[in-house]
Amino acid sequence: MVFYICNISNMKRIFLTLFIFLSAITLYAGNDVEFIKGNESFFKDAAGEVFLNVSFENATFDNQMPLTDKFQDIERKRRIAMQGFTTESHEQLKKIRIVPSVTDAIYKITIIVTNVDAQTSLKWSGVKGLWVKIWGKIVVTDIKEDKEVFVAEFEEVKGNSGAFSPIVDRAFNNAFCELVKCLK
C-alpha cells in the first residue's frame, strides 16, 4: 500500500483524483438562494446607492420559539446583521453602495429573516466553534417607481464564528456576509 502511494506515477493519479473530487464538492455545493421574481441578475447589474433594512420581526429560533426569547439583544443582532451585509456587499458588489439614509438611495433592500438556528460544531482540530443559519426572504424595491425589482428566498445560509471563538455575534455577522456571496 505504502509502495503504491509512494510510486510517482500512482502519486500523480491519487493527487489528480483528490483534486477533482474536492473541486467537484466545491462546484456542486448548492446555492442557498432561490430566485422568485424580478431581474435575476440584479446584484450583478445594479449600480448606485442602496438603503438596507434587516427585519427579525416574527422570526423564530429553530422554528420552535420566538427569536426574541432566545436572543434578548435582538436590536444588537440586527445591527450586526446590517454590518455584515454592508461590509461584504461593499467588497463583493463593487457597484452598489449601501447608504444610511433612504432619501439618498435608489433601491431599498429588505431582508426579512423568518428563522434562525445556532449550533455548536466541533471543528476538525477538535476546537469548539459555532454556526448560525438563517432562513428568510430578500426583497429589493425601486424607491422611485415603488416596484419590486428582485425577490428571492434564502434558506440555511450558514455563517461560522471562526476557530476558537464560539461567539454568536460573529457567526451572525458571517451568516449575512455569506448571504451576499450567495446573491453575487
Binding site: 493527487f15 483534486f19 461590509t87 461593499h90 461560522n160 471563538s165 460573529r170 458571517n174 455569506e178
Partner: protein, 170 residues
C-alpha cells in the same frame, strides 16, 4: 516532479478552502460613515459596564475572582498596548487627544475569548465609525489561571482592534 508538487499544492489549497470557508470573513467587518484620513491621534477608553465575564457581571466576577480589581489595570494596559502596537504606523496614541476610541467589552468567556464593539468619536463628538463584534481567538492554554488567560486574551483582542483601525486609517 514540480508538476506533482503543483497538483499537490492546488489540492491542499482546495482542501483548506473547504475546511475554512469563512477564513477571510472571521476577521470581521467595517462599515459606516466617512473618511478617517484626517485623524492623526486618539485616546482610548475601555468600558466594562456592559461586560459579561464568564456569564457574570463585572461585580459578580470580582467576587468570584478576588484578584480581578487588582489585575484589571494590567489587563487594560495590555489591551491598550496591543492596540497601539498594531496601529502605530497609521495613527498615534495620545492621552490628551480629543479623538476617542471607545472599546466596549461585551463578553469574555472562560477561554478569554473577547467580544468587543468599538466606536471612534472625534473632537466634535461625532461618531466617525463603529465596528461591532470584534473577536479574538482567545487563550486556550488550560494550565494558565483564568486571569492570566484574560490578560493574554486582552492583548490578542487589542491586536484585532488595531487591525480594524489600520483598515480605517491606512
Amino acid at each position: 516532479m514540480t508538476n506533482y508538487l503543483r497538483v499537490a499544492m492546488i489540492a491542499f489549497a482546495t482542501f483548506v478552502s473547504i475546511i475554512f470557508p469563512n477564513a477571510k470573513a472571521t476577521n470581521n467587518q467595517n462599515n459606516l460613515i466617512g473618511s478617517s484620513q484626517s485623524y492623526k491621534d486618539f485616546n482610548i477608553v475601555i468600558d466594562f459596564s456592559q461586560a459579561k465575564i464568564c456569564d457574570m457581571s463585572e461585580e459578580s466576577f470580582a467576587e468570584y475572582e478576588r484578584d480581578w480589581n487588582k489585575d484589571k489595570p494590567d489587563i487594560l494596559s495590555k489591551m491598550i498596548e496591543s492596540v497601539i502596537l498594531s496601529s502605530k504606523k497609521y495613527i498615534t496614541y495620545n492621552k490628551q487627544s480629543s479623538n476617542t476610541l471607545f472599546i466596549r467589552v461585551i463578553e469574555i468567556d472562560e477561554w478569554a475569548i473577547f467580544n468587543c464593539d468599538i466606536e471612534f468619536i472625534d473632537s466634535d463628538n461625532n461618531k466617525v465609525f463603529e465596528v461591532l463584534a470584534i473577536g479574538c481567538s482567545g487563550d486556550t492554554f488550560v494550565a494558565r489561571s483564568l486571569l492570566r488567560r484574560i490578560k493574554n486574551g486582552a492583548f490578542l483582542e487589542g491586536l484585532e482592534i488595531g487591525k480594524e483601525l489600520k483598515k480605517r486609517f491606512k
